[in-house]
């Protein structure tokens, strides 16, 4: 199956799983469920879900068995965006072209919707069809990569770096944790639920780490270029959102080159994983095309 076709298959399956995962019924707090659904089903590329499903497929599991875990990863992603948008964090009024969760439902409601999505994710991932040892391991890794040693840790570094000069190592750690950890987790969980061995899990991890960082760098570049287009003039490379990014730290050209190198390395890891895997190659090339 070609990349585009398979991605559409994964994306639609993930969307359907999400649609039926958090549902309103008369026994539930309708308002809370509504806020959860608003942010969970509000678009999103579902790249994380697709990685879970593909790595489960590659390593011998039926990809549908990992659908609950794929949905869970998207729940964690959705909760992180809700909390990230709140006034005490980034204070963003919009997300994906519509009012952010706290603008739509109120701050306390958004806080609870985020908490509830994160909590829901662990129970939902546990519904994946795999042997119980692998499910326990998948949940342990979910906790590790999403928590203080992963995504939350990255957000904390981001927070503490605001308005400060940070060094190269801090910039890399921040992005490795903030965005990279959840992308790596997606590959790892898919592989684990598919029944992969340690070497295979490690390969999934390495591939995802490369595209995760490259994806972040490309996002940073697109932000700056977007600002330039919007303002009709070049933006000083160190002023993009007043935040330290790869584009502001190294300049756009150097950042582009770094992303290209990472995509190239990712492709070479695909040959270790499965040289015939059209999906990973197609995904990598799609992500790469955003950089050009």
């Amino acid at each position: 199956m070609k990349y585009e076709e398979k991605f559409a298959l994964y994306r639609n399956a993930a969307e359907e799983e999400l649609e039926k995962s958090v549902v309103t019924d008369e026994k539930r707090c309708g308002g809370l469920i509504e806020a959860m659904r608003y942010s969970l089903l509000g678009g999103g590329k579902r790249i994380r879900a697709a990685l879970v499903l593909e790595f489960c497929d590659i390593y011998g599991g039926a990809w549908k068995n990992a659908l609950p875990a794929a949905a869970a990863i998207e729940m964690i992603h959705a909760y992180s965006l809700i909390h990230d948008d709140m006034p005490c964090m980034d204070n963003d009024d919009f997300r994906r072209g519509k009012p952010s969760c706290h603008k739509k439902f109120g701050e306390a409601e958004a806080l609870l919707a985020g908490d509830a999505l994160l909590t829901y994710a662990f129970g939902y991932a546990a519904k994946s069809k795999a042997n119980p040892e692998n499910i326990v391991r998948a949940l342990k890794e979910m906790s590790e990569f999403a928590g203080c040693d992963g995504m939350c840790g990255g957000q904390y570094i981001d927070l503490e770096s605001e308005g400060k000069n940070i060094d190269e190592a801090t910039l890399e750690t921040m992005h490795r944790l903030k965005t990279g950890a959840m992308i790596r987790l997606s590959g790892r969980i898919g592989a684990i639920l598919g029944g992969a061995n340690e070497l295979e899990i490690e390969r999934a991890d390495r591939y995802c780490a490369k595209i995760g960082l490259a994806f972040q760098i490309t996002d940073d570049i697109l932000d700056v270029i977007g600002d330039e287009k919007l303002l009709g003039k070049p933006v000083k490379s160190d002023s993009s959102n007043d935040k330290k990014t790869y584009a502001s730290f190294y300049g756009i050209e150097a950042a582009k080159k770094m992303a290209d190198e990472l995509f190239c390395e990712a492709k070479s890891i695909i040959t270790e994983i499965d040289p015939k895997d059209d999906f990973l190659m197609g995904l990598t090339e799609f992500l790469e095309s955003r950089n050009h």
Copy 2:
């Protein structure tokens, strides 16, 4: 072993487990870990942890096997207090006699510390020594009872009820979910990890539901009596913290009677669980003594 002795044993073991659960090391974000520890280790009666350990013990597991799950329940409890104290929720500056997490570390930091504790809890509970099927079930229940159908749901109802007249059924649902769900979860998880059958899990649940609600009612009463002592005059029973409580809804005497009945029912469930269990009887009598 007598109740007091056993409670001290459980409490100290839980405290020790918590102390070593979230630790600073050079690879971690020190500031985030500090905020997590501040709220996690800041006192607390550890009744939830003790219930996990006791029910594991009763149903045939070695109680120490459930220590990670007991610690995890306390992590979830700690996160809920951090988020509950935040300005957009109850806006409390103090917790257990010291500045609340957001007063000490900042709002965004408190938000992340809560998120990180909740995330950590699931991975930590998964370290319990039990067969993988039981661990998966325990984690599923943790997600269910702490999330939108449990604690988060109760907090949402509380939020939406502010300044409104609520009916008896809403008051009960709110308390059943907000406080009761985590107490029931404690008993259930202990029983599950100990290897209990369905009937035994259900007994643990029923006992915990009774003491959970009675505990909440007693807390409500003590709040009103505390206010009266503080102000040197009777407080109107409907003005306690401007919140709907059992004391304000039914009046203090009726609320006391309701709590007494619940304690009585709890004691009768102990005879189903194990008539020789001194710990549960001692715990129930201790909680009951707060009501007199």
